[in-house]
């Protein structure tokens, strides 16, 4: 078998002797059941990868419907009802079936045991069960869409969802209930894995930051998701029995629904963004060839983002007439999320400063992430401010802001991660040219799509309407044009990854010369049980300085 090399290597693979005939997790069994019933975390990760990619395509098509409708001021492409159902389906699919499982369920599943020197996650059967719960939840949700869709928006605000909507709200809620349990069980599995399965010598402060980020994410999944489950459950009860738990006509309180809903759904934003922050830390350290700046504070900032995430939810509700004193506290707390986020951005910049930066595809995605996440974060401050939020609430400014976080942040991080670990997952190299090009196209297309929406929102264009006044058309045309560029950027990886998988050059075990044990101690692709010998960790995760102490960077 291969010897483990700790020496940095260039990406250009000269002669790869390593994995030619060796048994790895991809080729040790080719039967269908060995994939569909696999307890191997790596194979389950790939099952997720295939499924969420299909969901991403579906969600993207629905986004296309929305953008095409908004190309012209009149509602001429689809009827208003279809429009409502399109953006609802877009939101539900992208959030619950793509973004939330994206990095944790695909990359987390694949990478966590490799990064902590374990043979598998703590509960492999539970891991497979999570996947099938996700799949069942997805089938129920798609059934709801095929029956006729849901028109409430992904937020399911009562009493519209519980009393007035004539669409398939209950079916959809059941689907989300099921997929929620998939998310809870994945989070639970990761927490126990990180607590109990670390290899000898791997102390908490030797964990790669991707693990810290996923740990924080898992805590949010574990604590937040049950609340949305019970909230959607109560909404379905209200809808079926005709009782008034959230209906003001019957003594209920619709604002209570919003509190319970956002108690999960705000932290859910951190379920999406935190894993990305972790990926970016790995990528930036590796391609700057430097120890990550401020490792401990980076670890704690992930945890504190998770904690802050739970106490800021009411900033979604400043216009509901809640107590102004409570609103002030929530506004202040929301501002304080900027502290750990800012720490992260500056730590990445400090890591890159004087680093020996190489411009591989994951790094280009990480650059895109830095710009977009910063814009998304800073525009969040406009919305956390009580006065400006009254003006901007429910406008396209909000739409632009959260797309900068969720697409510009979370999906850029996901793309960076997929490109970063692709050689590890498949053992193949992909075309750097096409990879860099797709990263560039996505960055340009994204900004063209969403930057005009800040202006639209500021000028007063509300979200969720399928018609708008004529003067908004120019900016909307920019936005729709941008979205088609964005679509090209997202489709390109399917081709060059497909090419790489079948015809790509063999990748080295540690193509980038990274220092975490997923790269240094496993083959590419890893063997079915990950490690030939349980690794023993003696150093911090990013020890480029130790390896290259001769390099003086001044």
């Amino acid at each position: 078998m291969s010897t483990i090399s700790l020496e940095p290597k260039t990406l250009v693979a000269e002669n790869n002797q390593v994995v030619n005939e060796s048994v790895n997790f991809l080729n040790h069994d080719h039967s269908v059941s060995s994939w569909l019933l696999s307890l191997d975390h790596k194979r389950i990760g790939i099952l997720y990868l295939v499924t969420i990619t299909l969901m991403f395509l579906l969600g993207g098509i629905l986004a296309g419907v929305v953008r095409l409708e908004l190309l012209t001021p009149k509602g001429d492409f689809v009827a208003s009802d279809t429009y409502n159902k399109s953006f609802t389906a877009h939101g539900i699919i992208m959030l619950f079936f793509f973004l939330i499982p994206s990095i944790p369920a695909v990359l987390g599943n694949f990478v966590i045991p490799l990064m902590i020197g374990a043979k598998d996650v703590a509960f492999p059967r539970l891991n497979l069960l999570s996947y099938y719960l996700y799949l069942i939840g997805g089938v129920i949700a798609l059934t709801a869409l095929l029956l006729g869709g849901v028109d409430t928006g992904w937020t399911f605000y009562t009493p519209f969802s519980s009393t007035y909507s004539n669409s398939y709200v209950s079916v959809m809620a059941i689907g989300l209930f099921v997929v929620g349990f998939s998310s809870i069980l994945t989070g639970l599995n990761f927490i126990i894995t990180i607590h109990r399965m670390r290899c000898p010598g791997l102390t908490w402060f030797r964990l790669p930051l991707f693990i810290w980020a996923l740990y924080a994410t898992s805590v949010v999944q574990l604590l937040g998701t049950p609340v949305i489950a019970v909230t959607l459950g109560l909404m379905v009860v209200e809808r079926t029995l005709g009782v008034g738990i959230f209906d003001p006509r019957l003594g209920g309180d619709p604002v209570l629904f919003q509190h319970l809903f956002w108690f999960y759904s705000h932290p859910a934003v951190y379920i999406m963004i935190l894993p990305s922050l972790g990926v970016i830390s790995e990528v930036i350290a590796t391609f700057s060839r430097k120890n990550l700046f401020g490792y401990k504070i980076m670890a704690f900032s992930s945890v504190s983002i998770a904690v802050f995430g739970f106490i800021v939810w009411a900033h979604h509700m400043f216009t509901t007439g809640m107590s102004p004193y409570a609103a002030m506290v929530f506004s202040l707390l929301t501002f304080s999320v900027a502290i750990p986020s800012g720490i992260k951005v500056f730590s990445w910049l400090a890591t890159m400063y004087n680093g020996s930066i190489s411009y591989e595809t994951p790094m280009i995605y990480a650059f895109g992430f830095l710009g977009l996440f910063t814009v998304g974060g800073l525009t969040g401050l406009f919305l956390a401010t009580l006065g400006t939020d009254i003006h901007l609430h429910d406008t396209y400014f909000v739409v632009a802001h959260f797309h900068y976080i969720m697409v510009g942040g979370a999906i850029m991080g996901y793309m960076a991660g997929i490109h970063y670990w692709w050689p590890k997952i498949t053992g193949k190299l992909y075309s750097q040219f096409w990879g860099r090009l797709s990263a560039g196209i996505i960055f340009i297309g994204f900004n063209l799509t969403f930057f005009p929406q800040f202006f639209l929102g500021y000028l007063g264009m509300p979200r969720r309407y399928h018609e708008y006044p004529d003067e908004f058309q120019v900016l909307n045309v920019f936005s729709t044009a941008g979205s088609s560029i964005l679509a090209i950027g997202y489709i390109m990886p399917l081709f060059y990854f497909g090419h790489s998988f079948f015809f790509g050059e063999k990748a080295d075990d540690n193509v980038y010369g990274a220092t975490t044990i997923d790269w240094t101690s496993t083959t590419s692709p890893p063997s079915p049980h990950n490690f030939e010998k349980t690794p023993v960790v003696t150093e911090e995760p990013y020890h480029f300085r130790l390896k290259e102490s001769a390099v003086v960077s001044h």
Partner: protein, 265 residues
């Protein structure tokens, strides 16, 4: 845990204990992981019930007078009986866990069976209560609820001592305009109490039913002698789960049954 544990460092050449899954190094690591997993799951459950408790708190604060009165329509004696039954089932569960730790398969199984017997007794009493609630129209559905009627029934229970239901002709329906806005609002608020009561108690009962399924499987393995001082985490985990379900009831009983007890006389 025990002296028979071996440290298995090298996966390639290890002689694994029969109860040790391939991805763990030691039995102790496996036991710790299993237990921590259950604790994390119970944390999730706390928040799952937490949504309902939050809703309860809000409405009890908003409609405290009606909630207290509505609470008086539940039977405290049956609720107290159920509390005792459930605590007894926790005792037998604790004994089952103890027996599994000493490797006594027969008594592990026996105590688990007894736990289920108590659990069924609890659900039996509970379904009697629900049946009674259905009869006096306390089910919080669209048409079933008749608060004024329930009030009259309660009145007879407390003062008349009789258990027959009051004559329906003398009772105004909740939609009767003569009751006025206040009467109708009161009826809606009481319905919220019963909605929460049914949601919370039926979610609790659902957890018990899931528990029965798991206990049955574990009982089977216990009689087969699957548990030993080296490996008993399934029994300990179902024990934790069962105690959690018990504790939920310990909170539900005062919140739902004892809330308005001082108004009885």
């Amino acid at each position: 845990m025990s002296a028979t544990n071996e440290l298995v460092k090298d996966a390639g050449h290890a002689h694994h204990h029969k109860d040790l899954a391939h991805h763990f190094d030691t039995l102790e690591q496996q036991h710790d992981a299993n237990l921590l997993g259950m604790w994390a799951f119970l944390l999730t459950e706390v928040l799952f019930f937490g949504g309902l408790f939050a809703a309860y708190t809000i409405y009890r604060y908003k409609y405290s007078a009606v909630f207290e009165e509505a609470s008086n329509h539940l039977d405290i004696k049956l609720g107290a009986l159920n509390t005792v039954i459930l605590i007894l089932s926790s005792l037998t569960m604790a004994l089952a866990v103890r027996c599994s730790q000493t490797g006594n398969g027969l008594w592990t199984g026996n105590w688990l069976v007894l736990t289920m017997v108590f659990g069924f007794a609890f659900l039996g009493v509970k379904s009697m209560e629900w049946g009674h609630d259905y009869k006096v129209r306390l089910m919080p559905g669209k048409d079933f609820f008749w608060w004024q009627y329930a009030k009259a029934a309660k009145d007879m229970h407390t003062h008349g001592g009789g258990h027959e239901l009051p004559d329906m002709k003398n009772v105004k329906s909740d939609t009767n305009p003569e009751l006025g806005v206040k009467g109708r609002q009161e009826s809606e608020q009481a319905r919220l109490f019963y909605l929460l009561y049914f949601c919370m108690t039926s979610l609790h009962a659902l957890h018990m039913i899931v528990g029965f399924g798991i206990i049955t499987i574990i009982t089977y393995y216990a009689y087969k002698g699957a548990y030993s001082p080296d490996y008993y985490s399934p029994v300990e985990n179902i024990g934790l789960y069962w105690h959690f379900v018990d504790i939920v009831w310990i909170f539900l009983f005062p919140l739902l049954y004892l809330l308005g007890a001082h108004l009885v006389h």
